[in-house]
């Protein structure tokens, strides 16, 4: 049985119950509890540390307000409730990547609780409950290496220790790998839209973990839960969960008991592997962090953050649909910041233009130009483009004064050189002749010069019609509107619209 078929069969008998946990690095200049700069991904080991993030004796944490604001903003964007006051808690465990022997996190008073995110799937919209979003600090990185004498050693790079992380945990509402992928995509889009994180998975700024279990369809209690980690791309999230569903279904079918364990995703092997078996539930001995006073979130602070929220992706997609765009176009524009900016700008510069035409231009000719240059204008347009010129190009196309083929060239040239589109059209001689009289005069001359072809058409050999249209286009040096030329030839040779 093929993999998709096996999965489909498994999903007929079992329902997947999936919860997603995302760790997201919120964008701040400094770390969560000290003044160290947040290190770039390629920083040399232990170059971004200080007594506080190394947990030297006598050091104390202080709160990074920007990090708190990012989580509050996220909470507002997912419709979560924010408590009037929150506090920090210590999560205690020993590991060499945890310099204090505890992680400062939030236990029972997260900065945001009870939110949700609705995602579009192939089966329609699905709303996934978000239990909580809270703030915590990242750990150091362990590097296992061989010493010059050959001994295996573990090195610790404390650069990441204390980098602010937002943890976002869903309810066990996700039912398929596709939903999980769509949730991860939509969350990433949201985090970027509200400008709290770059959310690049390849740089570890967004880490997705999934708790996957199966239960026989129609039953209540959850099955044994497996935690899946190390999924380094959104695609990997989908593949890993699909793999787990099949693996667990096969085990259940075979009467094999599942263990509560943590599994890693091996992208090359396309399989998960056992990382750690949970023998007992971890006891992190959480208690309130005495070094940090409770944080009061007053209404004015929250109101200011709410006022600063941009239009959210879901609202934007709905607005684009209301403008008449198909769902696909709306999604493409909202997912691509560069195209979205251009769409909004062209629409603003040419309020009368049909939005669907604008979307076609942006995702088509403009989109290609956007991909070909890394240069951006101050307003975020590709190369040296300006919205008025792009709107002009589209206006000419819509009015029939510029062919779509020539429009593509005009856009490409304008984006690179920045010369006004009208000037490019004029210089390149792209102004299109659509006037019926002007076209009629060209067609009359062509018919007079080609009596044989005219006779062929009249005799019913319709290939000759194409020849005459081509001759007329050639005579106009490509500037005639082809549709108008065709209509004029047909009219003169007495052949109507029946082709």
């Amino acid at each position: 049985m093929s993999a998709p078929a096996a999965r489909a069969a498994a999903l007929e008998r079992y329902e997947a119950v999936i919860g997603i946990e995302v760790h997201c690095q919120v964008r701040t200049a400094s770390k969560m509890f000290c003044a160290c700069a947040v290190p770039p991904p390629d920083a040399a080991p232990n170059t971004h540390t200080c007594p506080v993030c190394l947990a030297l004796p006598g050091t104390l944490p202080t709160i990074n307000r920007a990090a708190v604001e990012h989580v509050l903003t996220t909470g507002l964007a997912i419709g979560a409730s924010v408590p009037p006051a929150t506090r920090w808690d210590r999560k205690n465990y020993f590991y060499p990547d945890l310099p204090k022997g505890y992680q400062i996190s939030q236990y029972d008073l997260p900065l945001a609780a009870n939110g949700s995110l609705t995602v579009e799937t192939s089966e329609g919209p699905v709303t996934i409950g978000i239990t909580r979003a809270h703030l915590e600090e990242d750990t150091a990185k362990l590097i296992h290496a061989a010493a010059p004498d050959g001994r295996r050693v573990s090195l610790v790079d404390f650069n990441r220790a204390g980098v602010p992380l937002m943890e976002i945990v869903t309810e066990p509402d996700v039912r398929s790998a596709e939903q999980a992928r769509r949730y991860a995509e939509e969350l990433r889009l949201l985090l970027r839209a509200i400008d709290v994180s770059d959310a690049e998975m390849e740089n570890g700024q967004l880490r997705v973990e999934a708790n996957v279990s199966l239960r026989p369809r129609g039953t209540g209690p959850f099955g044994t839960r497996v935690e899946v980690k190390n999924m380094n791309s959104i695609r990997a999230v989908e593949r890993a969960i699909d793999f787990e569903i099949e693996r667990q279904a096969a085990a259940l079918d075979g009467g094999e008991p599942l263990r509560q364990e943590t599994r890693g995703w091996d992208d090359a092997a396309g399989a998960t592997y056992v990382m750690r078996v949970k023998e007992s539930s971890d006891d992190y001995r959480y208690f309130p962090e005495p070094d940090l006073p409770p944080l009061v979130i007053d209404a004015a602070w929250l109101a200011a953050l709410r006022a600063a929220l941009p239009e959210l992706p879901a609202a934007r997609r709905a607005r684009y649909r209301a403008l008449g765009l198909p769902a696909y176009d709306a999604a493409v524009l909202v997912n691509d910041e560069g195209m979205r900016v251009a769409f909004e700008a062209i629409l603003a510069a040419g309020p009368g233009l049909p939005p669907k035409e604008v979307a076609n231009l942006v995702t088509g000719d403009y989109g290609r130009a956007l991909n070909e240059t890394a240069e951006r204008t101050a307003s975020g347009l590709a190369g040296r483009a300006d919205a008025a010129s792009l709107a002009h190009v589209l206006g000419e196309v819509v009015a029939g004064r510029l062919s779509r083929a020539n429009a593509k060239e005009v856009v490409a040239e304008h984006v690179v050189g920045g010369r006004p589109a009208a000037a490019v059209i004029a210089e390149r001689g792209f102004a299109q002749i659509s006037d019926a009289d002007a076209v009629g005069r060209i067609v009359d001359a062509v018919l007079a010069a080609n009596p044989a072809a005219v006779a062929d058409v009249r005799a019913g050999r319709s290939q000759a019609l194409g020849f005459l249209v081509g001759q007329a286009m050639k005579a106009s040096r490509g500037q005639a509107n082809a549709a108008v030329v065709q209509a004029a030839v047909r009219e003169r040779l007495g052949r109507g619209g029946d082709g």
Binding site: P51, L54, A55, L56, P57, G58, T59, L60, P61, T62, I63, R90, N92, F94, Y95, P96, P99, K100, G101, Y102, V156, S281, D283, R285, Y286, F287, P290, D291, L292, P293
Partner: protein, 530 residues
């Protein structure tokens, strides 16, 4: 050996002479270093006597004073009173480039790369840091016998403990090695050794002094404070170190009162301020188990306040009896997390033990002493799943009730509470080592003040069987200046008392060839416990 007479001066007297030019900081520093170097063999109060750094600081202070004198009287007056005055630091205060053991083997060899807030403030004031003082390991103890570097002796009786955990600080000040020392107080660790050594010790309001650079024991209880031989000196040192520090989120933006620099010099003027003052006598602090001699001295002090015009009212702090139990949940719980960083990975004592877990067990197993291990276990247990509500949460509720008791008493118009500091005078080395609960009971009268976050001060109030007794004054939050004024008033009232003129006999009986406190402890009954 330099003339040691100047070591008998109070810090405020040194300040006056430094400004008058009748003594230099170098002379003062030489005298105190000589006293410390001569006396430390018998006392083991100092873990480090930093002669070079102290003399360099003294030279800098002398230069500052000389420059100020050249600039005129205003410039001289603008110098902090502690400029040029020697000060000792408990060895849990970081000094950049120096050791900071917190009395523990596990920090053996660790060199701090930064100054604590109080160290910075002392340097700014121009004080001369003479060295680092012995303490119970991680400030856990009431006798300074739980130091990995040997016990400290009490200058009043070299066979007795100085109290703890700031026992090195108290002994050094009592023995005239320094006029001032920094201590920390989590459950009484400044006030109790001050009482047992016959000096003044102040625990400020929680948040008054930044904890940045102080090795943590229990974060919600720890406070840094002064030990001195009189109230005026304690006030000067508090003035130097108090105030908001952005690096400690729990340090409060409360202004430091300038009255701290202006306590009355005149005994009569100080005593006169007691008229109309209302002092509360909490009945729960006078309980069975208190030594009769201690109770008698405290009652004498109360009578002296009353005779000077203060009104004494009986008050009740009904939840006092639960204080000890609550404290021994909260403090170990916080400590169990605060001490998790000592894992042998980044600094300090490290022992390889095969894998990661083995190395943790080996490093921590050999690095921590028995009392620290006991408290880590207590705290870990109290925070464990299934026990959290019954222990930690309940203790926090008790803490709220204890704070409420104090609030009620102060709201009823009491200016301060008067109580014993320690129910006992200094006990023989080793006497309580085998019985941790007996040791814990010596803080029964001080730790409720930490649970409530309030300021408290211990002042000497006479002797019992030749050993000092401490009187504790407890005030509402941020009332340190008031407490110090009351302490100063009590000094004024008792200025003529014969015990005021007594000095620790150890000062003249120090035998450089005699036993160290550790040798004495072994020779004493119960000494086998070490």
């Amino acid at each position: 050996m330099p003339d040691l007479a100047s070591t008998r001066l109070a810090a405020h007297e040194m300040a006056a002479r430094l400004r008058a030019g009748s003594v230099s900081s170098r002379e003062l520093t030489e005298a105190h270093l000589a006293a410390a170097e001569a006396g430390n063999h018998a006392l083991n109060a100092w873990l480090v006597i930093d002669r070079d750094a102290a003399l360099a600081a003294a030279a800098a202070a002398d230069a500052r004073i000389a420059a100020a004198r050249a600039d005129g009287s205003a410039a001289l007056a603008a110098l902090h009173p502690l400029c040029g005055v020697p000060v000792g630091l408990k060895d849990l205060v970081t000094v950049s480039g120096g050791q900071c053991t917190a009395g523990s083997r596990i920090l053996d060899g660790y060199v701090a790369p930064f100054d604590a807030h109080v160290t910075e403030r002392l340097r700014d004031a121009g004080a001369v840091i003479a060295g680092k003082l012995n303490m119970d390991e991680f400030a856990m103890g009431s006798s300074t016998e739980h130091s990995a570097y040997g016990p400290t002796a009490n200058p009043w009786d070299l066979e007795r403990v100085p109290g703890g955990s700031s026992g090195g600080s108290a002994a050094a000040v009592a023995a005239r090695h320094v006029p001032l020392a920094i201590g920390t107080d989590t459950g009484g660790s400044i006030r109790q050794p001050a009482a047992l050594c016959g000096i003044v010790g102040l625990k400020p309001t929680y948040g008054r002094v930044s904890r940045y650079g102080i090795v943590a024991f229990a974060s919600s209880l720890d406070q840094v404070g002064p030990l001195a031989r009189d109230a005026r000196d304690a006030a000067l040192l508090l003035h130097a170190i108090a105030g908001r520090d952005r690096r400690d989120a729990t340090s409060a933006p409360v202004p430091v009162p300038e009255e701290l620099l202006a306590l009355p010099a005149s005994d009569d003027e100080a005593a006169a301020s007691l008229r109309g003052v209302r002092l509360g006598l909490p009945r729960e602090y006078f309980v069975a188990g208190m030594e009769p001699g201690v109770e008698a001295r405290v009652r004498d002090a109360v009578a002296a306040f009353e005779a000077a015009g203060a009104t004494i009212v009986d008050v009740s702090l009904p939840h006092t009896e639960y204080g000890l139990a609550a404290y021994y949940i909260v403090a170990p719980a916080e400590a169990s997390a605060n001490l998790a960083r000592y894992d042998g990975v980044r600094y300090g004592h490290a022992v390889r033990g095969g894998d990661v877990l083995g190395s943790y067990l080996a490093s921590r197993g050999t690095g921590f002493g028995p009392e620290v291990k006991r408290r880590i276990m207590l705290g870990t247990y109290a925070l464990s799943a299934g026990y959290y509500d019954a222990y930690y949460l309940k203790a926090q509720k008790v803490r709220t009730l204890i704070k409420g008791d104090f609030d009620t008493a102060f709201a009823a118009g009491v200016d301060a509470l008067v109580a014993p500091t320690s129910p006992f005078v200094a006990w023989p080395l080793g006497a309580k080592l085998a019985d941790p609960v007996a040791m814990y009971l010596s803080d029964a009268c001080t730790l409720p003040v930490n649970l409530a976050g309030l300021p408290g001060i211990s002042v000497p109030c006479g002797l019992s069987d030749g050993l000092p007794v401490g009187l504790q004054l407890i005030g509402p939050a941020w009332s340190e200046a008031r407490l110090l004024a009351l302490a100063r008033a009590y000094e004024g009232v008792t200025a003529g008392a014969p015990w005021r003129r007594l000095e620790p006999p150890g000062l003249v009986a120090i035998d450089p060839a005699g036993p160290t406190p550790a040798r004495r402890a072994i020779a004493l009954p119960g000494g086998h416990h070490r």
